[in-house]
């Protein structure tokens, strides 16, 4: 019992419950204008009143985020591998990748709709554009940090390049690649929310824009919480996969 209490007191959950209580109490005591800080209960009520739309938007944005992330992760891993084994490619193309990250992708929202149509693909591409870079950088860094002594050892046993890649380089790079994935998943969510601002009918980004234009502050909070829940969910899922996949060393 004592140990249980101790663990409870140290758990992050307590911090959340504490904050929620303080929040609710402060709003009732000081009664600030709902424009600045609505009560948690008001937000929950509002969320309950629009839950079918909220659920639909959540699913749609989740789909865009996951697709964009997978595309970006695949492309990033491929490019990172290419850059590792071709110094020429690294020196000529990698700087362009860096430059591409300074381009404010939001500015191209309207253009992306012109290019890819007002479809799922347009949002996936926005998410993809934000995700591929961190994965590329971390894959490159991970593959390059492979211990040269181990390479020499495997080579002395006559391993060919393919075996060395899959048995040595990839496992030793995985923790670093996972770091890239974790950065990318958050960016992917940003990409799909922003992508929805430019002509779409379902999604959390759409709800955000609608709430802003209609000046519904409470609805803004609802959407923010929904985005936060999705972000935390995806991040948690990735951490779980990481623990399973890179059980021998996890850089947390």
């Amino acid at each position: 019992m004592n140990v249980f209490m101790q663990r409870l007191l140290c758990s992050p959950a307590l911090a959340f419950v504490g904050l929620a209580l303080v929040w609710e109490l402060c709003v009732h005591v000081y009664a600030p204008s709902p424009r600045y800080l609505p009560a948690l209960s008001t937000i929950a009520q509002d969320a309950w009143s629009v839950w079918p739309q909220l659920l639909g938007g959540f699913g749609r944005t989740l789909l865009e985020t996951v697709l964009g992330f997978m595309l970006g992760a695949l492309f990033g891993c491929a490019c990172g591998t290419l850059f590792t084994y071709s110094r020429w490619m690294e020196r000529s193309v990698f700087p362009l990748f860096v430059v591409s990250q300074t381009v404010p992708v939001v500015a191209f929202g309207a253009l992306i709709v012109i290019w890819f149509g007002n479809s799922l693909l347009a949002k996936v591409m926005t998410a993809f554009f934000l995700t591929f870079f961190p994965v590329t950088v971390n894959t490159l860094r991970g593959l390059k940090s492979c211990d040269p002594q181990r390479i020499a050892l495997m080579r002395s046993f006559g391993a060919n390049r393919l075996v060395m890649f899959f048995k040595l380089a990839v496992p030793s790079a995985l923790p670093q690649i996972m770091v890239g994935f974790r950065v990318a998943i958050g960016l992917s969510l940003i990409g799909s929310v922003v992508g929805e601002w430019f002509g779409e009918t379902v999604g959390l980004g759409v709800m955000l824009m609608e709430a802003m234009n209609a000046d519904q502050v409470v609805r803004l909070w609802v959407v923010m919480f929904a985005c936060g829940v999705m972000g935390a969910l995806l991040y948690g899922l990735l951490t779980f996969v990481e623990r399973r996949l890179v059980w021998w060393r996890s850089e947390s």
Binding site: C10, A15, S92, P104, M224
Partner: protein, 252 residues
């Protein structure tokens, strides 16, 4: 032959080559496939437009740069200070870190409307947005760096009578510098992009405002030239940081 090899070995040549290839592909595609200007304008037209419209672009750039740099500095300083504080008071870390992670799970763009309500349409809301986006990266990265030193080294300093603050200043901060600099680098393009996103949702001035208005008027050349200016500005900003980093490697 030797001269040729030297040319290839210099870091600039491959980059230039790939830029030239990119430009040729860009312009060639427009000529070959007769791509209409609203889908992809020629680079010449964009640069020409940027030069004829310098006054408006520069005014917008100055507003955006002011917000981005203000938020960048504010966020970096606050993030670092908070990291030191959390390090010194472990109880605080247990309470604040879960909350900080939860706040970070919400994509920055979802906060933007709320910040506009809280801080108004002027520069303050963008500075706050940028500071939040940059500050969190700094907090996580700096905290990670500050925890790097060996417990043995900390114990040694403590046995010689050094206080907690002294240990932070003499041992932990120098060790954490690479992490801090990494966070500073990540923050540069992010600060520009977040400032522009904030301006697109509502502002009186700035590149984001310009992009939003031009998109509404389907003046896509103005969008492209604003994007060009924004990218160039963040590249200069980034280059400056790398240069400072290389000059001030006193911690290595």
């Amino acid at each position: 032959m030797v001269a040729q090899r030297k040319l290839m070995a210099s870091p600039v040549v491959p980059v230039l080559l790939s830029i030239v290839v990119l430009l040729v592909v860009w312009e060639g595609a427009i000529l070959l496939f007769k791509i209409p200007a609203f889908v992809l304008p020629s680079l010449g037209a964009i640069v020409y437009h940027a030069f004829t419209d310098t006054g408006r672009l520069m005014g917008a750039l100055m507003a955006t740069l002011g917000e981005a740099i203000g938020g960048y500095v504010l966020g970096s300083v606050l993030g670092l200070l908070l990291a030191v504080l959390l390090l010194l008071v472990p109880l605080f870390e247990r309470i604040v870190m879960p909350l900080a992670v939860a706040v970070n799970a919400v994509p920055t763009v979802a906060y933007a409307p709320l910040f506009l309500i809280w801080f108004g349409l002027g520069g303050a809301s963008k500075v706050a947005l940028v500071a939040l986006a940059v500050g969190f990266t700094m907090l996580v990265s700096a905290l990670h760096g500050l925890k790097q030193p060996d417990q043995a080294a900390v114990n040694l300093m403590r046995s010689f009578g050094a206080g907690s603050l002294k240990i932070v200043w003499r041992l932990r901060l120098p060790v954490a510098m690479p992490s801090v600099v990494a966070a500073l680098r990540i923050g540069v393009p992010r600060s520009m992009i977040v400032a522009i996103v904030g301006e697109m949702l509502g502002a009186y001035a700035g590149l984001g405002r310009l992009i939003y208005e031009s998109t509404q008027q389907i003046d896509l050349l103005s969008v492209w030239s604003a994007v060009l200016v924004a990218s160039l500005a963040s590249m200069v900003f980034y280059g400056l940081l790398v240069w400072i980093d290389q000059r001030l490697v006193w911690w290595r």
